[in-house]
Symmetry: C2
Subunit: 704 residues, 2 copies
């Protein structure tokens, strides 16, 4: 039993605040329910009426002949808490509060919303809203329009979950005359109780929904949301438009990772981990949904373009390149067959330009030939209004049997008026979504291919479950200040997770350092006291020390400088490290985010991370696929391939280090921020080696 079952599939509803006053919400709502021929029982509640719109009306919930599945509250905000309480007393467990005037207005609205939450808890209710636009479900067995929209939705298989109610109404309006058809609409409003995740749980099982679209302004309960969305991703696509700023926010940061943790970067990584495809704008969101709801997924990225006009074919080819698809290389045999049905002036290569003389028979012959080519995964079928011989309607009708028996993806572009010659009914019957422009069609197709890969992945992958460990934590601070973790402890910690660090010792003894030097060609000598953060800037890092005398000189120099910087009574400690061969500097970092918890970052170091912000974020821990995906998102890929004499970075080893680090960071909630910077690929050790490690511990996070 899902929390949304009675809200989206009620067998009876009470409409609290139903009204006969024209133009009032109470009247419009009831009208909307009636307009869609709701299959269940309707109980209008209004103490001042016996009958509204032909329905027997009751003064209150107590007077009802039976307990309704769902109550919808339309009253002004000050009456809502009392009304909700009455519903609770009457044993009603499912309620939609349409009324506004709660958290969204701040001040006492927040208090009022808290009252609702408490009442819902007390009575064990499922509460949708407040400040929402309601729901609808076009499933013929339900036929419930619980919004006050006079525009009836096209029935179909796209669910739309919207944090903005108005964007629900708007899309319904704009979609009214298109081939976008809806299964379910949910306006989540303030999400006081029922969240996006509850809705997704319903949609996971709703067989009438094959594509889910979402408009999100914020993400609440990210763990729960990710769990259900990645379960859904294996069986149906979720497309989301994320608008506005997130709550993550920038906070004062003591690490690179912290400073770069742009909430938008985190959201991007998070949505990928959820298996959700992020879209830039509403039009693209629904353009992609239409294709996904209508056509089978392409088996591969290879697109054939069939057109009766050159220009649109070129635009489609450009878009194929741009959006990550490939122009199919059609076979010699296919070209020959095409030549036999096309005039001399036509082009039998891909894009197949049949030229303006093509009629419906040409379309039929060419489409059949092209679809039969095993090098073709999908076809973009362009129909510019033919000057002679035929109409789009005749063309599409002639394709009936081919499209019917085809398991490849076909995406049509109809560059003609939407009149009686356009054949729109037939397009719909054949489950062909219609686009006006080649670029939009190819973009939708590219999203289908993207989802096909996501689906494969989420069918295989198992969720990583991590429970933070409570033992072996680092000693955190007790005062006001966050404190730096001691290097020794950090190295131990990294080794526990199989992350290599450069050979080193921490000591205050020159003799010990000289002995260490004897084991390595060259060493680096730095100050080790965690009180000093900007070591390089203070001249406390000496590189490339080869001789004993150089080591002695560096030791004395650091000792003198550090003594001036350290608090009284604290002696300088030294870090001696083996000097590594040069290599590309990588960075791994972690930050605890307000909303998402442990977040990790991968980047290419030095100037690249600072100037170009060439980084990728995910919520920790990550699996192998996610780690590789992070590496793939870095723009400076050429650096990883062995640039300018540097060795090529082993991506498997890099992905392994990312996974191990992400687990470390997830399992150590006492660490606020952490940087491995630089992290260098060592061909000798066939591993990534952390050269510098830094971590800030929380003030007092140790569980009591």
């Amino acid at each position: 039993m899902n929390r949304m079952d009675n809200i989206l599939r009620p067998r009876s509803i009470a409409v609290i605040g139903a009204s006969r006053k024209e133009g009032s919400l109470g009247s419009m709502f009831l009208q909307a329910v009636l307009n869609m021929n709701f299959k269940g029982k309707i109980y209008p509640i209004n103490p001042k009426a016996d009958e509204i719109m032909g329905l027997k009306t009751y003064p209150d919930l107590q007077s009802l002949p039976a307990k309704p599945d769902l109550a919808v509250i339309l009253l002004s905000y000050n009456y809502v808490p009392e009304s909700l309480k009455e519903a609770g007393e009457a044993g009603i467990r499912d309620v939609i509060v349409i009324s506004a005037g709660f958290k969204e207005i701040g001040g006492e609205g927040i208090v009022r919303e808290q009252q609702l939450v408490e009442l819902a808890k007390k009575y064990g209710m499922n509460l949708l809203g407040p400040n929402c636009m309601g729901v609808f479900n076009t499933d013929p067995a339900v036929s419930f329009n619980g919004t006050f929209s006079p525009t009836l939705p096209n029935p179909g298989h796209v669910a739309y979950v919207s944090q903005s109610g108005a964007l629900g109404v708007a899309i319904l309006e704009l979609a009214a005359k298109t081939d976008l058809g809806f299964s379910v609409f949910v306006s989540t409003g303030n999400k006081a109780d029922i969240s996006d995740s509850d809705t997704l749980e319903f949609l996971y099982e709703d067989s009438n929904t094959s594509v889910i679209t979402m408009y999100l302004e914020n993400i609440s309960k990210p763990d729960q949301f990710r769990k259900i969305s990645s379960k859904i991703a294996a069986i149906k696509p979720i497309l989301a438009l994320k608008a506005g700023r997130t709550e993550s926010g920038f906070r004062a940061a003591s690490s690179h990772t912290g400073a770069l943790a742009n909430p938008e970067y985190i959201i991007d990584g998070y949505l990928k981990q959820c298996g959700i495809i992020r879209k830039d704008n509403l039009e693209e969101l629904f353009d992609a949904a239409r294709a996904l709801a209508a056509q089978p997924l392409p088996e591969g990225p290879r697109v054939a373009i069939v057109t009766n006009a050159g220009g649109p074919g070129i635009l489609a080819s450009d878009a194929v390149d741009r959006f990550g698809l490939q122009l199919a290389e059609i076979s010699e045999a296919t070209v020959k067959k095409l030549q036999s049905v096309l005039p001399e002036e036509a082009s039998a290569a891909n894009p197949v330009d049949m030229i303006a003389s093509a009629n419906h028979e040409t379309y039929r012959d060419v489409l059949e030939i092209v679809l039969a080519d095993p090098n073709v995964d999908s076809v973009v079928l362009i129909i510019v209004k033919p000057p002679v011989n035929t109409t789009p309607k005749q063309i599409i009708e002639s394709l009936d049997s081919i499209v019917h028996n085809c398991s490849k993806t076909i995406i049509p572009v109809l560059m003609a008026q939407r009149d009686e010659n356009a054949g729109l009914k037939k397009f719909k019957e054949l489950h062909l979504p219609v686009y006006s422009y080649p670029e939009a069609a190819v973009k939708a197709l590219a999203t289908m291919w993207q989802y096909q890969q996501i689906q494969q992945r989420f069918r295989k992958s198992e969720a990583v479950v991590v429970t933070p460990r409570s033992d072996d934590l680092l000693e955190t601070g007790s005062g006001e200040e966050n404190k730096q973790a001691p290097l020794e402890n950090l190295e131990d910690l990294l080794h526990q997770y199989d992350i290599k660090t450069v050979p080193s010792i921490i000591t205050d003894s020159l003799e010990e350092i000289l002995r260490f030097k004897d084991q390595h060609d060259k060493i680096v000598l730095k100050i080790a006291n965690e009180q000093i953060i900007h070591k390089t800037e203070a001249g406390l890092v000496n590189l490339n020390l080869e001789s004993d005398s150089a080591v002695r000189e560096a030791f004395t120099d650091i000792h003198t400088k550090a003594a001036r910087l350290l608090p009284d009574g604290i002696a300088p400690k030294f870090l001696a490290q083996k000097q590594l061969a040069r290599g590309i500097e990588l960075v791994l970092g972690g930050k605890r985010d307000v909303l998402f918890g442990p977040v990790i970052m991968v980047g290419i170091g030095g100037i690249f991370i600072e100037v170009l912000k060439d980084v990728a974020f995910r919520i920790a821990p990550v699996n192998a696929y996610e780690a590789r995906e992070m590496i793939g998102e870095l723009r400076s890929q050429a650096l990883l391939n062995g640039f300018r004499g540097n060795p090529e970075v082993d991506r498997d080893a890099f992905a392994y280090a990312i996974q191990r680090f992400s687990l470390l960071f997830a399992e150590h909630p006492e660490i606020a921020e952490m940087d491995l910077n630089p992290l260098i690929w060592s061909p000798a050790e066939q591993a990534l080696v952390a050269v510098d490690v830094r971590a800030t511990l929380l003030k007092s996070s140790r569980p009591e």
Copy 2:
């Protein structure tokens, strides 16, 4: 007198190949001319008919009672040359050839097209086509539909020039029920004679055209095209969609610049120099054109958003950020006024969310208040179908007087059905373009702001005219191989153009090098022979030489190594340079492009140019604005601002060096490719200093 005058404003036309056979081109064309009530005289030509569609028909051009302004040839390709000849003999100077079967099919088609070109030349004709879809002009004084499109164009002020005829038909079809209105359409086809530039010359003077849109597959005669387009840019916007691959092409390159000269980068820079705004797809092209044709340009980037629903307001705000506009900071006084007309739950900040209860009076009051704020340059006005009280039609009607008297930009978003309540007629009457989605509206507005800046610039700037010099050229090679220019000559050349090079000498004398060293703190010693290209890789560059002994050692080392690499009988030459203080490595380069001629590149050097291709291209020479624009296009801007202790690069000095270099390269056609790499900002000299210079000379370009 413009070459297109008789083609776009004919007073009489001969239709060669007119036909009464239903569905034939000859019939459709004549029908189309008649449909739009052509104001001039029509002479159908067909030897087999006396009358077609009620018009007296003539057997040939000789039989006409008067000489027509324009002949349109619709015959099958093999009859076209003969027919064109007859037109020439008959003294007709303006001809459109619709027929296909020429260059576009290759082989004998190319020969046939050449015949047309020669005939046109012989008779002094203006020839549009072949393989084109014709033209139309909606100017009421002309009313000429010379295409065979049965769909009559909406009259308006957007001109559309399309290399693809089909994209003309397609756009006409798709625009039929929108507010996109056309002045002129020209299908340029194969551009055998009349080019885009000729059409632009006409549109420059056509007072019925206020916005020009173009679909280009290639650019022909780039100099002429740039001259007219930058003249137009000062008075009306040109928007272009450039599709497909350009002819520039990659060729084997001997320089960085050559290797990076991606035709798409060059086209991008070139179109900016033309004052043309490049668009990504057809929808954006016409979305922007509609706004530009209807509304005044915004005076600045500050946008106020007025909405009756939160979600669309947030989407619009996000788009304002993304597309380079700013959310206007409305004044305290404005906020107070807004509060006085809005309910408590509304938001009086920008975006101004009037909430769902807003009726037409709220819209009127709020729009009036917001437009009066001097901090607001433009308003995005969002109308989600109101649930109660009013309709979009009532809203827009109530705005009549405000919009009428307003010189600020208003861009409406109508998220409602296009039915009788939508008020579309009123929108049109008020010159308000209508968008369905907030993102598309903001993107169109951003293009208006972009054009407003282009207009300012092109009103001021004078065209740079450069005639390549024929004296002082470098000695080019005579053999098969391109040759490297000697360093000495290149330094002289750079100094002539006031481009600094690092102090250096070229010599084979160690004594001379030691004397040079005495004048500088540190020097660099390299091999100077132009036969050796990869100096660093061969170990022939020694940096940071401070002492005499270091110089001696380096000299001997280079001498030994170089002797092995140089041909017999050639002695090593040495380049001693002052060692500059470190700084960001910049790059300036030039390459001679097949299509565009001298092309220059600016980049950030070293790893950035190679890994990130962080470069900008322009056709040389460039003016100060263009040089600064190139600098602004570099993605790694932070490096120029003085990164990690490097001095901040003076952008004026950088722009000056770019200008001078661009002039040098334009004036020296004997140089095929040239790199200044690195070029370093020297705070001491307050100039950019070229540290390494390399140039490849053409085989034999010296004018005889």
